[in-house]
């Protein structure tokens, strides 16, 4: 066994401890604040709202910075260290800015059995990035994810526009060609609909910061359409379904 490394020595550890600044204090939009107030009535403690508050924050700001942690800590009445612990425990909160569209390819068993590794290589090549990376234009980030509970669509990809409400969609079963076509389609759709307003800035700017909800859904993110069927990649019929 290796002796313990410090974050300065070990890039993996540094990544695990990551916490970055947005450059100034942040605040929720009026809609976000209203949603939060409603949430406080749904739980017997304020602490229980930490994760829901982080979801609102991620939608509004795109990622979780030191300032967001301070904000949530104040609103939920828990220590910033507690919020940080929560943020780092769960896999879905971004601790650095990510691309506008978050691609998560499942690399767990059922997807691997049906070619996830090949799809991964095609996506890396098509996007020109590695796992964990973001394209130079800031449009796509690529990560791997554990079983998405969509194994009948294997290999399956989850597509999420982080700054918009309720748009996560599953695309599968994918092969290399379908994955490349999907990226082209997503790029066309993204160029046709403007990105959400940038979120970073001092509190005084909050009026023109993130409009939050309810934004238009990105059009036709999966071939099933908005909130549509969670199946059917481009040009491919779903082989799954309940029987």
């Amino acid at each position: 066994m290796q002796p313990f490394a410090t974050p300065a020595e070990d890039p993996a550890l540094r990544e695990a401890c990551r916490l970055e600044s947005m450059g100034g204090p942040v605040a929720f939009s009026a809609a976000g604040q209203a949603e939060l107030e409603r949430l406080f009535t749904r739980y017997p403690t304020r602490e229980a709202v930490v994760v829901p508050a982080l979801w609102i924050a991620q939608r509004e700001f795109g990622w979780i910075s030191a300032e967001v942690i301070t904000l949530v800590s104040g609103l939920c009445g828990v220590a910033p260290s507690h919020v940080y612990g929560v943020v780092s425990f769960y896999t879905m909160f971004h601790r650095r800015p990510r691309g506008r569209i978050h691609l998560q390819l499942c690399t767990n068993l059922s997807c691997q059995l049906r070619g996830a590794e090949h799809v991964l290589n095609c996506l890396r090549e098509k996007l020109g990035i590695e796992l964990g990376g973001t394209t130079a234009d800031g449009l796509f980030s690529l990560d791997e994810v554990e079983c998405l509970a969509a194994c009948e669509l294997a290999p399956v990809l989850q597509v999420t526009e982080t700054r918009r409400a309720e748009n996560d969609s599953l695309v599968g079963p994918l092969d290399g060609e379908a994955a490349r076509i999907l990226i082209d389609e997503l790029r066309v759709q993204a160029e046709a609909s403007p990105a959400p307003v940038a979120s970073v800035g001092p509190v005084a700017d909050s009026a023109h910061r993130c409009p939050g909800v309810p934004g238009d859904m990105p059009t036709n993110m999966s071939s099933g359409g908005v909130r549509g069927v969670t199946s059917g990649g481009p040009g491919r019929a779903s082989s799954g379904g309940a029987h």
Binding site: R42, M92, L113, E166
Partner: protein, 432 residues
């Protein structure tokens, strides 16, 4: 043979809407339940023989009866919609296609146990299932099926949909409760069991989505009708989600006790590409693996699978064909458990990492023959030594893979590379 109790509404147009659900006779069972005394309702569920569908198979009515009738702190129901066990995707179908049946099941459970607030804990990655569920809860409130004085019966019930942050361990019932309370989802030592002290300090029922969704059918048709499906000790139907190398992967509702052969070869259309079944993981990635021959001989019910040395688990069946490398397969699985260990218990935190590293090395061709004994020894030290059973869930596949496919592991050591000539997977070459 398929039957359609839980999946009865799946093919109806817009089955997820209140309108469609009511037209199909929905929210009637709940009125029947309400006419019963809570004790009689619990007895009905006990009589039906319904067992928890989340993995452990604990009798549902019995679990409810552990909750004290009078309690100074509020009681809660947590519906477990964290569905993260690799190979399992049945709850996603229930939430997407019949969310009102989930809500009606919640009403029945809460009336039986005297609960006035239910949380539905939905895994963070779920998109459509979450949106449909939220819409359904909104519709149910608007129609007066939820909230104050439900349907004029003098019973109050709040339902809150809670979205997780992404962590397999939050499917474990006490991890779920910690997570719901706004903390890291690290499981608690039991006792106290949730039925006595759970969410926010109150007595808490934790039930899987499928368990809850079965309730309306049982109430409407009665325990005896339910028992007409399945076997004596494993009554009723079960959703199996089948994936991997089968022609038609998907969700199938079958009576418990159906021969595994029938599910794989008839319903799922057999093994893709005309190949043969080398192995079968019948109940989600955490259960011991069966060889193809063992799987062909087994029936799908709790007792038969236990007798075959495995478990029914969540009903997430993963089928592996004869071209699959078992060392590579185990490497994929152990990567998952090492990633998901919450880190509280030394045998689990260290053991999952060691298992992963040893299997990686074997698959990459650098393994030694003593590694197999080391793997088995690690698994023995992980089982039964930790706060929750994630450690066992990581150890059981490892032990069963090495025991049943030992020749393949030895061949890797002998050859110094993977004899199945699999291209190295990205995670084997990447630094970890």
């Amino acid at each position: 043979m398929e039957v359609k109790l839980l999946t009865r509404n799946f093919d109806r147009p817009e089955s997820w809407t209140l309108d469609a659900y009511e037209k199909a006779g929905g929210y009637r069972a709940w009125k029947t339940a309400f006419a019963l005394e809570p004790e009689a309702l619990i007895q009905l569920v006990k009589d039906s023989g319904l067992r928890g569908r989340g993995g452990a198979g604990f009798p549902t009515g019995l679990k409810w009866s552990f909750v004290p009738k009078e309690s100074s702190s509020p009681k809660y129901l947590c519906v477990n919609a964290d569905e993260s066990e690799p190979g399992t995707f049945k709850d996603r179908y229930l939430l997407e296609k019949d969310p009102h049946a989930v809500i009606e099941g919640i009403l029945i459970c809460c009336w039986a146990v005297g609960i006035h607030h239910a949380y539905i804990y939905v895994r963070g990655e779920f998109g459509l299932p979450l949106f449909r569920l939220r819409d359904a809860v909104r519709e149910a409130y608007a129609k007066g099926y939820l909230g104050h004085d439900v349907d004029g019966h003098g019973f109050d019930l709040e339902v809150t949909v809670h979205r997780g942050g992404g962590a397999y361990i939050c499917g474990e019932e006490t991890g779920l409760i910690e997570s719901l309370e706004g903390k890291k989802g690290q499981p608690r030592i039991k006792p106290p069991f949730p039925a006595v002290k759970g969410a926010f300090g109150g007595p808490t029922v934790v039930n899987n989505v499928e368990t809850i969704t079965t309730l309306p059918w049982i109430v409407e048709h009665g325990a005896a009708e339910y028992r007409k499906f399945g076997t004596e000790k494993s009554p009723g139907t079960k959703l199996f989600s089948v994936s991997g190398h089968v022609v038609r992967p998907g969700v199938y509702e079958i009576p418990l006790g159906l021969p595994c052969k029938e599910l794989v070869y008839d319903l799922c259309g057999g093994i893709s590409g005309g190949r043969t079944m080398k192995a079968n993981i019948p109940g989600g990635s955490s259960v011991p693996v069966l060889t193809g021959a063992e799987a062909e001989a087994v029936n799908l019910d709790y007792e038969s699978l236990a007798a075959a040395g495995t478990m029914l688990g969540s009903g997430g069946m993963i089928v592996l064909d004869d071209e699959t490398c078992m060392v590579w397969t185990l490497a994929v699985l152990e990567k998952f458990y090492a990633h998901e260990s919450c880190g509280q218990c030394t045998p689990c935190r260290e053991g999952t990492g060691w298992l992963r590293d040893l299997v990686y090395r074997l698959e990459a061709g650098g393994g030694k023959s003593c590694d197999l004994e080391t793997i088995l020894s690690i698994t023995r030290n992980m089982m039964g030594t930790t706060i929750c059973v994630l450690a066992d869930a990581a150890a059981m596949p490892a032990a069963s893979f090495v025991q049943k496919f030992r020749g393949e592991f030895e061949a890797h050591v002998g050859a110094g590379h993977c004899p199945m000539r699999r291209r190295p997977a990205h995670f084997l070459t990447a630094a970890h």
